[in-house]
Each structure stands twice: as C-alpha cells, then as structure tokens.
C-alpha cells in the first residue's frame, strides 16, 4: 500500500457483471448434479451391505440361540455350539490388548516426545505407516516362523495373540502418535516452565489429554484383530477343537477361523452354512459393541482447549 502510489488507480474489470450471473446458473446446476452422484455412490454401498446382512441374518434364524452360544463344538451341526470358540477369541484379546497397548503407546511416546527430529526418526515413522498396510498373511508367516517355530509356541493362544499383536501394533502406534501430537504445545510449555521433567510432563499432561484418542484408536485396532483370519490360518489353528481352552498355551479356535472352516465344509454338510451365518452374527455384534465403546469414549472424554 505504501510503496504502490503510482499503480493504485482504479481499473475496470474486463468482464461485464451479467455474464457472471449466467455462469452462476450453470454452477448451481453442476452442484446439484454432483450432490446426486455422490448420494448414489453411498446408496450402492448401503445396498450391498443390506443384501449381505439379509442373507446372513436369514440363514442364522433358528440356529442362533442360547444353546448355540453355550454348547461345545461338534461334527453334528444340530448339536454344535460355539462356547469354546468365543472363549478362544476372548483369550486372544487377553494377550493382544495388554501387549499392543503397552508396546504401541510406549513407541508412540518415544517417537513423539523423546526422539529428536532426526533422519532415523522419520525413516522409522514412514516404515510404521508402511507396516500398517502389509497384508495380514505376511504377519501370519512371521508369527509362524518366530512364535510358532522359534519360540516353540505352536498354534497356541499365545502364539496367535502375539501374531495378531504384531499385526495391529502399527495401527495403535499411528493412532497414539496422532493423539499425542494433538495435545497443544502450550500445555507442555506450562509444565516444562515449572521445572517438570519430560517424563512428568508426559505422565501428567500429555497422556491424560491424549488418552481418549489413544483409546479410540486402540479399540478400533482391537476390533480389527478380533476379526482377522488369515494369520491364524497360516499359524495352523486346528480345524476342529472339541476341548475348551483354559490356558494361554492351549490350542484354540476363534470366531473368524470357525466361520472360515464351516464355510469351507459346506460342501460336505449343508447345515454348516447356517452355523457359519450364526457365528458371523455373533462376531458382528461383538464388533458393533467394540466400535460403540470407541465412540462413547471419544465423545465422553474429548477435551476442548
């Protein structure tokens, strides 16, 4: 403004105002068309989902009852129940939840708060994001080699749990990093300026403020773990376990595995399709509950600054 004294004169725009209005009409039309197109794509996704749900639910009707939930596995489809399968999935989570939370959050804290802005850090960061998109079969092979063979854990719950932990660890790390990064710097400054160490600041300021985000991300990661099939298949989870597992070193089967095997064996016994459908419903309900928990935690503890 101060130095442009000569060129500041008023010049007329090249285009007349009415031609703008003609364009406005076209732009509004285009806007409407775009809106319709986008709503069509969500309709497509919803329709597929509804067909799937209808098929599964209709097949499971009459099969999904209290007896099915509490009974033991059996070759006979009319006697089979999935108590052992549910216990298998729960015990898997008993391994996965503490391992991923502890390792995942610690890694995130290190990367965000302790590691300087070094080249190594950015390489590690990129690779964690890459790991999150590695196919789960690969993690299954890793689990088989390291936990199954090297540590001699076979196809136990511990081996399966540790393999699934590796699989979802990158997701937990990335989610926790984002939650930690979202804690405003001025809160850290307030703590440091009073003579706090890094660890005190992390413990008393950063973690409490980022906990909702960390938990939301972690629960979503857990629901991914509970639905994973491929790595467990690679580990060699037995087809049919008639015994109910009661320790972390026992063999086991889990919900997605059972769905997989029952679906495979439909050629032999047609009713297995109904058992698979009923088990899918159980798994879906479980996932729905976990995702709801994540949403509730996010809404309840979300802090505003």
């Amino acid at each position: 403004m101060a130095n442009g004294s000569g060129s500041g004169k008023y010049e007329k725009l090249a285009i007349e105002a009415p031609s703008f209005q003609k364009r406005t009409k076209r732009r509004i039309l285009l806007d409407k068309v775009a809106g319709k197109l986008f709503s069509l794509s969500i309709f497509f996704a919803l329709a597929v989902l509804c067909i799937l749900l209808y098929q599964i639910v209709s097949k499971s009707i009459g099969w999904l009852d209290f007896k099915f939930l509490t009974g033991n596995l059996s070759m006979d489809p009319y006697k089979a129940g999935i108590r052992g399968v549910i216990i298998g999935s729960v015990l898997l989570m008993v391994v996965v939840i503490p391992v991923t939370l502890l390792l995942g959050v610690s890694t995130a804290i290190y990367l965000e708060e302790y590691a300087g802005k070094s080249r190594l850090r950015s390489i590690i960061n990129t690779n964690i994001s890459n790991l999150a998109s590695v196919p789960s079969v690969i993690f299954g092979l890793l689990g088989l080699t390291v936990f199954g063979r090297l540590f001699n854990l076979g196809s136990s719950i511990l081996a399966g749990g540790l393999t699934l932990s590796l699989l979802v660890l990158p997701i937990v790390v990335v989610a926790s990093q984002e939650a930690i990064r979202a804690v405003p710097g001025f809160l850290r400054d307030a703590s440091y300026a009073i003579g706090a160490t890094k660890w005190t600041t992390v413990k008393k300021v950063v973690l409490p403020a980022s906990l909702p985000g960390i938990l939301t991300g972690s629960i979503l990661a857990m629901s991914r773990a509970i639905g994973e099939t491929a790595p467990l298949v690679v580990l060699g989870i037995p087809t049919l376990i008639l015994r109910i597992p009661n320790g972390l070193l026992d063999d086991f089967t889990a919900l997605p595995i059972q769905i997989y095997y029952w679906t495979l064996d439909t050629v032999l016994t047609a009713e297995y399709a109904n058992l698979a459908a009923a088990t899918i419903v159980v798994l879906l309900v479980l996932l729905f509950l976990m995702n709801s928990a994540a949403i509730i935690i996010r809404n309840k503890f979300q802090k505003r600054y």
């Binding site: 802005k117 001025f186 809160l187 400054d189 307030a190 440091y192 009073i194 003579g195 706090a196 505003r304």
Partner: protein, 261 residues
Amino acid sequence: MTSKANDERKSDIVYDVDNLNLWYGNDQALRDVTLDIKRNEVTAIIGPSGCGKSTFIKTLNRMVELIPIVRTSGEIYYHGNNIFEKTTRVEDLRTKVGMVFQKPNPFPKSVFENVVYGPRIHGIKSRKVLEEIAEISLKRAALWDEVKDRLHDNAYGLSGGQQQRLCIARVLAVEPEVVLMDEPTSALDPISTLKIEDLIHELKQTYTIIIVTHNMQQAGRISEKTAFFLNGEVIEYDRTEMIFSTPKDKRTEDYITGRFG
C-alpha cells in the same frame, strides 16, 4: 555497566548476560546481548515484533532449547553460575525462574490442581500442605477471593484474566525467585490488564520480574528498567524514565515516539 568490578553490588545482580548470541538454524535472533538484571526490580523488554525480545527471556530459563534447531554462544550467569554449564539442571533453573506466557495456558484440570501442579511434581503429597500452598499462592496472585468457592471447578470456566492470574499463582506455588512474563496481558481486556499490572507492583516486593511487552505505556507504568531491542541487539538499556524522557539513541527515540514498530 560492569558487574564484576563491584562485589557489593554483585549480590544484587540476579542475571548477568554476557555477549549472548542465538541462532534459529542460520537466522541470528540475538546479537551480543549484554546486560545485568537486578533483584526485586521490574525489567521491561520492549521492541518491535521479531526483534528477539521473546527469544531473549525464553533463553533466561532455557525454554528456548525446546526448539530443536537453536544454537547459542556467550554466557548467562544466574547468581554467578553459568546456566549453559553441563552441571546446571534445567529443572532446578526453571523452578527458581518461573514463566508466564502470552496466552493463558492452564491445564484442563481444576483450579486447585493447576496451582499445586508444581508442588506435587516436587514431591509434596500432604493434602493439608498442598491446600495451604494453594491458598497462599492464589492470594499472592490476587485471585483467591474470586475462586475460593470454586477451587475444584475446571480452570477453563474462568475468564481470560483469571486464567492468567491462575497461571501466575501456579508459578508462585513453587517459590521462584524470578518471574519471566512474555507479553502476559496481550490477550486480555483493559480491566484484566490493569489487574495484572497491579499484581506486578505487589509481586516486585518479593520477586524479580522480567516482562516482555508490546505496550510502551505499560512498560512506563510498571518497570524500573527498560531494555530496547532491535533486530536482536540491545540498542539501549537504562532506567525506564531515562529511556522514555531522554533516550540516548535515535532509534530508541523513533520507536518510543511511534515512528516505527
């Protein structure tokens, strides 16, 4: 002004800054800053935006080092000890030298928890002692009467001015000797500003205060000494009335008469 020449006066010197230079990467933000800061005085740092005044007070408690690309040269003696020495623990330094920021930054906790944050991290556990510290600190920060019935409410429910006094109380709760203030009233309305200024008048009986301010009237009202910074250099450092009545440097005069900045 040479501080080392006179031993008697040396005990009065809290900070002795010697040829301090500071770089953010390749940009030099402070150039050969040399000045003394005396006990129980209010020292105002004035200057246009980007002149290094905030950087300077953040160097006094080494908060500036939280930015990874910072390099310094020169010395800062705090009671005769070089704060850049390996043996100086920044945690101890920052306990003795508190800091109040431009934007009020209470923790998303209760008023009480905010004030006792410092005492707690320094290991005080007794509820009774903590309550006592909270009351004394809030009284010193002239906030007690306004919050004594809502000590356990979230600090975010307080007004901006109250939040800033809460932040001052939080600093006072660890018994500092120096309080650094980085434009503490720039985000506040005139009435809250006045309250903070009154508070500074009270606090200087007990504490040494170094305040960065954009507001020259404020510097004139509250400080004994004023340092004028320009492009990272101390252009003039003198008693406040001298700076404002008979500045020695032309640039100081131009700035305080509003010709730039």
